[in-house]
Amino acid sequence: MNMERYTWTLRVSTACKDRATVFVRQHQFPVGAPVQFDAAYDAITALEYVLGAIGADVVNGFRALARKRRVEVDHVEAVIEGALNNPLTYLGVVGESGHPGLEQVSVKVYVASLAAEAEIQRVWQEMLDKSPLVRTFQPAIRFELSLQVVL
């Protein structure tokens, strides 16, 4: 590798119970608890940000590459599902085994386009090769990706 190492630096700070603020360049966003099981919880959890980031990486990456390769795409959407190895271990349940890490992520991508299927597939493969998050998670956990072209 003939380049200087490029790194990203964020600052994350918390001054209250379960709310952190992430400062990144000129932006900032709040993050809630690491994980939550309450559907009414009023913040976005760290885990949800990770899953959302994977989805955003895929749909934005696909869209950007499609534009670059001059493949016309109307809409790209992804449904992400993630599962922990054993969420009860996060809660400290005595007697449980396993760990609270992500074990499986599934990403279903829907592309609305009139372009030829082969062109869409070429963009898809290129996106998978170039996606920082797909390349990070794919070898580490059960990572299922699927693409469906809709008209």
């Binding site: 099981f37 969420p87 009860l88 349940v93 005595v94 007697g95």
Partner: protein
């Protein structure tokens, strides 16, 4: 700050922790902090209670009996939900089938829940025994051992038992009255196709259990806050709905006789040391 009361609870689903978060916040706000310790099964929780690792255990009825068995009957049941009292279980069968009485089950198959489920296994099998049918001898038993150790808190075993009946692999299945009510309303069970064949005698379900040496002043402090929850207070109602009650009531042990009888007749604790 008062030293928190250590409360034990068994979790079968992480969502249940939300209920305990709400309860803990309520106790904190009312000057009686509690810390919740979660266990994967009731055996571990009973052991923790008796060893003094926790002060109060939210026990299943079987865990209550186990705590009494292991402590020489010195534990106390201090509170329960109104809905823990006077429960019954049913044996149900197909309305179009040939089973019209419990005696008709002789030589047939009954589907039940997990082996440690009071409501879906032990007490319904006790009903058969009371009527002179020996499970495994006079009646074949199809048992659905989902999440053993959780004492039937998880409804999966009962549901699998019902599916076994529905598929024709069993002639009757066992379930608690609350699940019958829910499932006949939500479409899981078509009430036109299935009927209640037999109803057990009433029994009590969960209770807050303490050791004999739990200080009375701490107990009173806990009960004072617990009994201050009122269903007509919207702030309390959310938790009470999640936990399935309209009021907390004093604990009583008179409702555990039926399960005790079933456990004895079925030698449930045989081979385990008190």
């Amino acid at each position: 700050m008062d030293k928190p009361i250590l409360m034990g609870a068994v979790l079968y689903n992480p969502k249940v922790s939300v209920i305990w978060d709400i309860i803990s916040a309520f106790f904190q706000d009312n000057g009686c902090p509690i810390d919740t310790v979660f266990y994967t099964n009731y055996e571990l929780q009973v052991e923790a209670l008796l060893k003094g690792h926790i002060d109060i255990a939210w026990n299943s009825p079987l865990a209550w009996l186990d705590a009494q068995r292991q402590s020489g009957s010195t534990c106390r049941a201090i509170a329960m939900r109104d809905t823990d009292r006077e429960r019954v279980s049913y044996l149900i069968t197909k309305t179009q089938g040939r089973i019209k009485t419990v005696e008709d089950l002789r030589g047939k198959t009954v589907a039940v829940g997990a082996k440690d489920s009071p409501q879906a296994t032990l007490i319904p099998l006790g009903l058969l025994q009371r009527q002179g049918l020996q499970p495994g001898k006079d009646v074949q038993v199809r048992r659905f051992d989902l999440m053993v150790g959780k004492h039937g808190d998880h409804i999966g075993g009962e549901l699998e038992a019902f599916k076994c009946l529905a598929s024709g692999e069993a002639d009757a299945s066992a379930l608690v009255d609350l699940n019958w009510q829910t499932w006949t309303q939500d479409g899981t069970i078509n009430p036109g196709e299935y009927a209640i064949l037999a109803t057990t005698a009433p029994f009590d379900h969960c209770c807050f259990t303490v050791r004999a040496d739990f200080p009375p002043e701490r107990e009173q402090q806990f009960l004072r806050v617990l009994f201050s929850m009122h269903y007509d207070n919207p702030k309390h109602r959310e938790m009470m709905d999640l936990e399935g009650l309209k009021a907390w009531v004093p604990g009583r042990t008179s409702g555990y006789g039926l399960l005790h009888e079933a456990v004895e007749k079925q030698h449930f604790f045989a081979g385990t040391t008190p």
